[in-house]
């Protein structure tokens, strides 16, 4: 009898552990929804309807909210990152990409259609600076000291640096055709050149391009692995993931991920979760073997984020949210 109880307890604990693995949030831009995927079973478990056309998201510095920008709906949604419940809505015009500065003081929101960069105070979300930039501000990244934000301008092939304190544009230079992601890396800026076939290495002080590294056609997004050893580049046109050595910036490997690979997050088991824009699915890729599982989601998956990262409160991860 005690033995049965023990087995039962172990079984229940095991089930709870499997369920507590967490959730992946995958934004479906053309479907006006957010797919919630159970990380353990790799299945979409539900869809959160939003107004119009969501694209990207960012976790608040205090980890309490996951912010989702609905561009044509002109609103920011505040979700519970553990459950996906919508807790608050804030009117913001045309929120496309959004990111908090490393020190947590600023929230920068790019308005791609409106050619503007909004700098908010992250404490109370009041607008501090609005910077007009031509044209199509797309991705962004910060200097580690949180003094400067770097913005790619998809429409004019440029990269701009803005001082967060003053809102002044420090420089605005040409970096390659249709730049997408920008990433601060070891004192340099890496810019994915989507209209070209690789990344530009840019001097953060002047905006001058120091080197160009081919990675594949339609280089779109850039990610530093959690161990800091490699950089992953999604190549939108070639349908590949280029693996770069983080020190030498040499391409060490190319992994085929067809379907318009876009955004990426790191799973708890070391696999990469990659949204495939044109294949209505997420690829969960083992970077060692190059094999990937496919998880079907909404029609146009874009931003992706997993709530399984170590620093997050995980107590409620994977449990059913209250009806919303």
């Amino acid at each position: 009898m005690p033995r049965t109880m023990l087995f039962l307890t172990l079984f229940l604990l095991g089930a709870a552990a499997a369920r507590a693995q967490g959730l992946a949030f995958v934004i479906d831009s053309a479907g006006a929804a957010v797919s919630v995927v159970d990380v353990g079973s790799e299945r979409e478990i539900r869809r959160i309807p939003v107004l119009r056309e969501p694209h990207h998201m960012a976790l608040t510095p205090d980890h309490r909210f996951l912010l989702i920008g609905d561009t044509t709906g002109n609103e920011l949604l505040f979700l519970d990152p553990r459950t996906g419940e919508i807790l608050r809505r804030l009117t913001v015009s045309d929120p496309y990409q959004l990111q908090f500065s490393p020190d947590g003081k600023w929230l920068v929101v790019n308005g791609l259609a409106r050619n503007q960069v909004d700098i908010f105070d992250a404490k109370d979300y009041h607008l501090v600076h609005r910077v007009a930039l031509k044209s199509m501000p797309s991705h962004l990244n910060f200097s580690p000291d949180s003094s400067t934000v770097y913005i790619t301008l998809q429409g004019t092939d440029r990269l701009a640096a803005i001082a967060l304190g003053s809102g002044a544009v420090l420089w605005n230079t040409e970096v390659g055709e249709t730049p997408a992601a920008v990433l601060w890396h070891q004192g340099r800026l890496l810019v994915a050149v989507m209209g070209g076939n690789g990344i530009s290495v840019v001097d953060p002080a002047t905006g001058v391009v120091r080197a160009r590294i081919p990675t594949g056609r339609g280089a779109h997004n850039l990610f530093l692995s959690p161990d800091g050893k490699v950089i992953y580049v999604t190549n939108r046109v070639d349908g590949t993931l280029a693996v770069l050595d983080a020190q030498s910036l040499k391409v060490t490997r190319e992994i085929r991920v067809p379907g318009g690979p876009d955004d990426l997050d790191f799973g708890p088991d070391g696999r990469l979760w990659i949204s495939r824009r044109f294949a209505h699915s997420v690829a969960v890729l083992d970077p060692v073997s190059g094999h990937y599982d496919v998880i079907e989601v909404g029609r146009s998956p874009h931003g992706i984020w997993l709530n399984t990262h170590d620093h997050l409160p995980r107590a409620l991860a994977g449990t059913a949210p209250p009806h919303s």
Binding site: Q154, G195, G260, R277, F278, E296
Partner: protein
Amino acid sequence: MSDPFDTLAGWLSEHLLIPLLWQVGLMRWEDLAYGWALFATYGAMQVALMYAICLPLERFFPIERWPDHRVELTDMFYTVLARVGLLPLVTFVLFFRVQVAFSGWLTDHGYVPPTLERAIPGLLGHPILTFLAYALILDFADYWRHRLSHRFRWWYALHALHHAQRQMTFWSDDRNHLLDDLIAALWFGVIALGVGVPPLQFPLLVLVLRFLESLSHANTRLSFGWLGERLLISPRFHRVHHAARAAGKQSCNYGAVFPYWDMLFGTADFTTQYAPTGDPRAPEALASGGYLAQQWAGLQGFIQALAPPRRHLS
């Protein structure tokens, strides 16, 4: 199970549109490629569905029989242009961006373009209900747009292109003057600022409505019965609007999908049977000319109607 339309639109984007945009240096518009691919995929499906259902109806239960089908080719061209080809692309690239920018500008000036789902939060997450609510509002707006296009001389000069067809078939729904299309786009743009229009969420439901609009032009003896006629617009009902004697100012049955607005505003005719179509006063080029001849004739009529009346020396 994935949606075959999503799969096809994705395939078109990945293998055709995106490589093409990359090749010609227009990757900045890659965000719009999928939307357009989805629109074109559903458009092609609309045409296929029309063909599969309306063609047998016209073949086996026709109202009129014509020895020569050449004038229908122009209508086919209008249909393909409007549903699969260039027009959706223009709508997406130009109109959609302008609308986003303008609604964003309004937001900054304190006017948040409202959406039905924000006013009635219960709608969010119920796609069919939401879609029906939008369909009713847009159909109401379209009733008045159409009714006014008969009221003003300059506007009817353009709309006469739609009425001039004497061999009306299910291909005739999209035969419109480009300027008339533009006015309609602006009209719905304004409506969108008032209630919000979901751009891409409900493509399947849009497909059904567009199919009904095509069907209502079919050359076929089809009435939906006493009750059905009062719920949805049938080929019989819309044909009365296209009857030769209903062309111009004194017309009836302006509705596109739902007959409620005609019933409400006293313009419904449920009794007339299958009369010949066309507009006897319209220039012949509008009826039997090719695509360009029709566009040109429509433009001429439009300019003449706007020009001040000539003074005669006495």
